[in-house]
Chain length 263, copies 2
DNA sequence: TCAAAAGTGTTTCCCATACACCCATGC
DNA sequence: GCATGGGTGTATGGGAAACACTTTTGA
């Protein structure tokens, strides 16, 4: 592995150097490693949405699935692979990308043993425009809703039930939403879904929370929590600008960079 | 991939069957995948401890590191690999094993690109006896303590500072402890560290919490929280047995199976 | 002047903390 | 008895939820 911190440190004996040069990386059989991305956003009607792609090839040809793909070994981390894939399929770059879980059960992919590192991507409201698909894939944004027996995904042209998804992707999506719901209680994840993190009203943020939690919140109490946790804590500053609604709302701006990964 | 649910479902066209039979699993270059385990326990002096192994071969020969190893592709999940490695090195089986994070930065292993799925294992008090090491490795249990610039690990025969550990293992350990500290506020993780989950006193559980959080707790309030969150909620029942201390304590027993992984 | 959304104030209630106090046992 | 840890009771303060009320704009 060229360029490793370890090698550059220079504290390596001749014996170790020889070991590394003669090491056979294919001593063990290896699984494939992919990044799968649960891409969430909120649409103009304040509905939580997810990006799915329709598989153009086998396996699960014609089924809807999470976007993702194989990592470029030796060149990138799985996180970089996830970011690359997401960019290739949507063009969005200003997203939160956070590791969710790694799935590695043998048999979850019929081709071979695939270890999938799943990520949750949070895309700002309005910025998830789907690119025109080629023959390999076709992408669409689906509104997420729930009924007695699970999630359904609805776009302008298709209705998909969770059991129709490819691979174990329904499980991954359930996990992502569950985790997001518990995370927004302590972490500023929801800010990523704002149209503009540098100029937003409290009510806009409240709508994001409501979409994620699927329940209505009390604005007065939401405001108090927001002021306490973010404004008073210095993580958000007020702009003294006014929007142009009924009564103009005070606008706020995130001061801190949102740290994506707590490594 | 023999035995896959997908293949057995039988809804596969001849065309797809042919695709799967001709698929070349080595189309892309693959990284290696390993499981690394942060094995935590509490010793008889109520100190939080970790299992480390001394590396017998290159790289980082002679350095202390997390136990772990390569997964057996096609035969097991990374979780099973972690469980297998932990068993081989310690003989313990009744442990909580929970996925922590996946590390995949190129260069983190000087041999080749290695994707490591890290796990946190919680071993009941007193049951972590180290096996005699062979020439490939040597294991020891270290007490974890903190000073101004980081963690130190102390066993009966060695003192290791976090920057002396192999690979990026110090980072992984920090993450594991941080996560455990926040998790025990909501989840019953600490029960795994009890000597006997089926017969324990409240004060024993309190000691576990104190070891993890590294701070003293008020027993009266700890008891109230325990009764509310576990006994009243039916997750723990009282045994009406008495231990043989000063004043005998009421003993409790976990009724539920602790679910290890929320997949 | 009215509707609608923004923003403030107040009341109530729950619950975590702190801490005083009683209980059961061994010595 | 008394030391030691087990267990109960209570007073207090902070904060979250519910909701009434005021303010600012557009129409």
């Amino acid at each position: 592995m060229k360029d490793s911190e370890y090698l550059r440190s220079g504290q390596i004996s001749a014996e170790e150097k020889e070991f590394l040069e003669n090491y056979d990386p294919d001593k063990y059989k290896k699984p494939s490693v992919t990044a799968d991305v649960v891409t969430l956003t909120v649409d103009e009607q304040d509905q939580l949405c997810i990006l799915l792609i329709k598989r153009g090839g086998y396996p699960y040809k014609g089924k809807w699935a999470l976007p993702g793909g194989f990592m470029n070994t030796d060149e990138e981390s799985v996180t970089q692979a996830a970011r690359r894939e997401l960019f290739e399929e949507t063009g969005v770059q200003d997203v939160s990308l956070r590791q969710l879980y790694t799935f590695s059960q043998p048999g979850r992919d019929p081709r071979m043993h695939v270890v999938s590192v799943a990520y949750t991507a949070l895309v700002p409201k309005g910025s998830l425009k789907v690119r025109a698909g080629d023959d390999a894939w076709e992408a669409e944004v689906f509104r997420i809703s729930y009924d007695v027996d699970g999630m359904t995904f609805q776009s302008d042209s298709a209705l998909v039930r969770e059991e129709d998804l490819a691979f174990d992707h329904a499980k991954i999506i359930r996990m992502a939403i569950k985790r997001l719901r518990s995370r927004i209680k302590y972490e500023p994840d929801a800010f990523w879904l704002l149209k503009d993190k540098k100029e937003f009203a409290i009510s806009e943020l409240k709508v994001i929370y409501e979409s994620i939690l699927n329940e209505k919140l009390d604005l007065a109490n939401f405001r108090k929590a927001f002021l306490r946790d973010y404004v008073d804590a210095g993580r958000v500053c007020s702009l003294n600008k006014k929007s142009n609604a009924k009564r103009p709302a005070m606008l706020y701006s995130l001061t801190e960079e949102l740290n994506e990964e707590e490594i």
